[in-house]
């Protein structure tokens, strides 16, 4: 059985007198795995990353790398000894060194010929050949990003951490660079932990995703699992394109405003639940006696997303490839055809 590469045990970090940035965070990442910490800004994911890298010290808990304790109450291994590659959100390229100088910075104790060879190799992998003598300010945003990644990979550390690696790029570039980045990281075989607030990025690049909110891990799992079975409302909000409908459970079925459905296995044991309503599972049809009124039509190719307001005030969205023939203000009948029933406990006070 291989030793997990990154382990966090109940790690806590607080800044100042406010709430903890990271609260009882426990995580275990396998060697060679690509793991994404995903969540909205301020959820603590970047702090967690920095704790692992050694730029911050945890108040409580323990961090292990490759089985070795690097941070706990007594121990605090400095970043330069943790053998972790880090890609910064602003790239943090050394402005006074060329691309070669940057990439080769972490290669120590290596003969100059080996060093040059390794730099060449990494530049080739990152499609930066011929740019070795340029300075960072002479490169485009995308090129700078690749240099940052190459620099982190060159020393051949077992772990690579990435802090929102693509967020500084134009949206149009992001897609192609994302694929490229994914390929480079996979080819390197390293354990990768990346932090992002971009859902597509997390889905595309990660083997497993950890959804964070308020400093805590809400759920960990493979992308499909999270999408299919979000464990909490937060996760659902972040991961799925969905709305929520309050529902009542009685026995093996639940009843909602727009119909009754079987409760399904694994339903929460309470009466008051929330039903996850995915946009693409809703269909509407004009009907003067319908439960809902169309509030808005927004084009999202190839079809529209129709916003519908129900009697109770709840809002539903309907997205289809073919736009139903309804106009704003018209009454519609709403029908839900869920593939999988997902029920969440209703824990809101409001």
């Amino acid at each position: 059985m291989s030793v997990p590469q990154i382990v966090l045990e109940s790690v806590r970090k607080r800044f100042g007198a406010g709430a903890a940035a990271v609260d009882s965070l426990s995580l275990s990442i396998e060697p060679g795995e690509t793991f994404a910490l995903f969540g909205p800004s301020g959820c603590g994911k970047t702090t967690a990353l920095r704790l692992i890298a050694g730029f911050e010290r945890p108040d409580d808990g323990r961090i292990r790398l490759g089985g070795r304790i690097v941070a706990d109450g007594d121990v605090d291994v400095p970043p330069e000894e943790r053998r972790i590659g880090f890609v910064f959100q602003d790239y943090a390229l050394f402005p006074h060194l060329t691309v070669e100088g940057n990439v080769g910075f972490g290669l120590r104790g290596v003969g100059s010929r080996d060093k040059a060879a390794r730099i060449g190799e990494v530049l080739g992998l990152s499609r930066l050949q011929g740019l070795g003598h340029r300075f960072p300010h002479e490169l485009s945003g995308g090129q700078q990003q690749r240099v940052a990644v190459a620099r982190a990979l060159a020393p051949d550390f077992p772990v690579v951490l990435l802090d929102e690696p693509l967020s500084n790029l134009d949206a149009s570039l992001r897609g192609s660079l994302r694929a490229e980045l994914h390929q480079i990281l996979k080819a390197s075989g390293k354990t990768v932990l990346l932090v992002t607030h971009d859902r597509e990025e997390a889905f595309e690049m990660a083997d497993r995703i950890g959804v964070m909110s308020g400093g805590r891990l809400q759920q960990v799992g493979a992308p499909e699992d999270l999408h299919r079975r979000p464990a909490t409302e937060e996760v659902a909000r972040l991961v799925c394109d969905a709305c929520f409908l309050p529902a009542r459970r009685s026995g093996h079925s639940i009843s909602t405003e727009i119909g009754a459905f079987p409760a399904g296995a694994g339903a929460p044991a309470v009466e008051d639940v929330i039903l996850l309503v995915r946009e693409d599972e809703v269909s509407i049809r004009r009907d003067d006696s319908g439960e809902g009124v169309v509030e808005n039509r927004v084009f999202r190719g190839p079809g529209h997303v129709i916003h519908v307001r129900l009697q109770s005030g709840a809002a539903i969205r309907c997205r289809r490839d073919e736009t139903p023939d309804v106009a704003v203000g018209e009454r519609v009948k709403v029908r839900l055809e869920p593939r999988v029933i997902v029920l969440l406990p209703r824990n809101r006070g409001a």
Partner: protein, 549 residues
């Protein structure tokens, strides 16, 4: 694994202590002078109150007001012209208008006194042309002092105001125009650049307060001249020290005004189209006026004094009145300047790194205290330094005598060390602000990147910080070197046995009305002063924030 955490924390503690040590060292002379306050000198203060105290306060306040207004208006208007309009020679004037900064106030004062005095060439000519009662511009009056000092101090305001306007770019002005505003300066430019202008003004006024040479030559009585009068006329060093405290109170008021006027604004770097494209072009008549205005200021503030000095030097060379010790003057000045530059640089680095590593909260005070030295006049610092050093020498002498029986003699007083100490107190803030700005431009993520790649703190400093700080370190060294070259009051009082600097030589000769003999050293000081001006201009071109923020 060894426990690394404690070691890291200790390191930070060491830095913190070192930074506080620097602050204490810098504050010591000022404290020594303030200590004087404890000895009552009612008689002297009574005399002062009856005779000239009111005049001193009034004169000092009026001088600050006058110079503040004139230098402020000059600096701001010139900066506005150059930043937002196009006119012939604009790109030349943009940097040339900074040149007067190279001329120390006491130099332009004696040049103008020689030029425009009753017996000078201008007045003589006017009398020859228009008769013995012809009007001539007498520079030894209140307006004269204000004009003379404003001519060489406006560049502080100009530089900062220009940086302020330039950083705004075209956008705010275009927005204002689209909203119908016809006075973009008053509604947009001035309010937005106000913090920069306030800082520049504060610097200029600080220099005004500290000045001793110019006001003496021009016969204008301020607290500074009164300090000397009480000290040496009435043989009362204690009362003079108390007057010095009063002078420092003015400085404190100035600093507070600067903080208030600056508000909570910070310098913001904006990119985009330059402000010169935002306003409608000037009519050719107006453009000529603009060029003329810039040219006129440049002429009186720099070209005329430098030209006159060059002419007097040439005449002195012909009449063989050049100072024979010029070579040693130059060497002394450079050597002292270099020593001072090294010392202040070391102190500045300690302060800047302390702030960066140990968190700015606690050390902000240390830096602020260290920075006050700039506001304290050189003569006051000199007294404080003398007090401390002679006390230290006596204590040291007693100690050595007691343990070894050897009579030590003077070690500190009268050594170059004392002078370098005084320079440190006076100029560490210059080095600090420069180095701090340079350090701030090294984002913390660079530090972290280097460490994640295996760099120890030492490697971080040598491979990352050192190359990136090279520019700031060089700039700081040059700024301190030139400031030392120009410094006169403190150097006069505590320089080593027989070591004169260029500035001291200039002062001694002008005190004896030996203008011609003073011209070569004065010219050298001005030429040296061009160096930091060139630096500042180049830095300004690269869009970096230049003076303290």
């Amino acid at each position: 694994m060894p426990a690394i955490g404690k070691a890291r924390r200790q390191n930070l503690g060491g830095f913190s202590a070192a930074a506080w040590l620097v602050a204490v060292v810098v504050a010591a002379p000022v404290l020594a002078v303030v200590w004087n306050l404890l000895t009552p000198r009612w008689e002297v203060w009574q005399h002062l109150a009856q005779t000239m105290l009111f005049e001193l306060v009034r004169n000092t306040a009026l001088l600050l007001l006058g110079v503040g207004l004139l230098a402020g208006v000059l600096g701001t208007s010139l900066a506005w012209l150059v930043s937002a309009h196009r006119f012939p020679g604009r790109s030349f004037f943009e940097w040339a208008l900074v040149l007067p900064m190279a001329v120390p106030a006491y130099v332009i004062a004696f040049v103008f006194a020689g030029l425009f005095g009753y017996t000078g060439p201008v007045a003589t000519y006017l009398r020859a042309a228009f008769g013995p009662d012809a009007f001539f511009p007498d520079v030894r009056t209140y307006p004269g002092v204000v004009v003379v000092m404003s001519l060489v101090l406006y560049p502080y305001v100009y530089l900062l105001a220009r940086a302020g306007f330039a950083s705004l770019g075209a956008a705010p002005f275009e927005a204002a125009r689209s909203l119908g505003s016809r006075h973009p300066f008053w509604r947009v430019g001035f309010p937005l650049a106000r913090p920069a202008i306030a800082t520049g003004l504060a610097l200029a006024l600080m220099e005004t307060l500290a000045d001793f040479g110019a006001v003496s030559v021009l016969g204008y009585r301020t607290f500074t001249t009164a300090i000397y009068r009480v000290w040496f006329g009435m043989f009362d060093r204690v009362a003079a020290g108390q007057l010095a405290v009063a002078l420092m109170l003015f400085a404190v008021v100035l600093l507070s005004f600067e903080r208030w006027a600056r508000g909570r604004a910070r310098f913001v770097q904006r990119h985009g189209r330059p402000a010169t494209e935002a306003l409608p072009p000037l009519s050719s008549a107006r453009a000529l006026v603009a060029s003329g205005f810039c040219g006129g200021v440049l002429f009186f503030a720099f070209l005329l004094p430098t030209g006159v000095l060059a002419y007097w030097t040439a005449r002195a060379a012909v009449e063989q009145k050049l100072p024979p010790n010029f070579g040693s003057l130059l060497t002394n000045t450079l050597a002292l300047g270099a020593a001072a530059a090294l010392t202040t640089l070391a102190a500045a680095l300690v302060l800047a790194y302390g702030q960066r590593l140990a968190g700015s909260r606690s050390l902000a005070w240390a830096s602020r205290i260290a920075g006050l030295g700039y506001a304290v006049p050189g003569s006051v610092i000199a007294v404080g330094v003398l007090l401390i050093l002679s006390g230290a020498d006596r204590a040291l002498g007693r100690l050595v005598e007691r343990t070894t029986g050897v009579e030590l003699g003077l070690v500190l007083t009268g050594s170059a060390l004392g002078l370098v100490f005084a320079y440190l107190v006076r100029f560490v803030s210059v080095a600090f602000y420069t180095v701090e700005a340079g350090l701030e431009s090294i984002a913390p993520s660079l530090d972290e990147a280097a460490r994640s790649l295996g760099a120890t703190p030492r490697r971080l400093l040598s491979r990352i910080h050192a190359p990136l700080l090279k520019g700031s370190v060089l700039t700081a060294s040059i700024l301190v070197l030139v400031d030392v070259m120009k410094e006169m009051p403190a150097t006069m009082l505590i320089r080593p046995f027989g070591t004169d600097t260029l500035a001291v030589d200039v002062w001694q000769r002008t005190a004896e009305s030996m203008w011609r003999e003073a011209s070569l050293p004065a010219l050298t000081i001005v030429l040296a002063g061009l160096l930091p001006v060139i630096l500042l201009v180049r830095l300004g071109r690269r869009g970096q924030s230049v003076l303290p923020s």
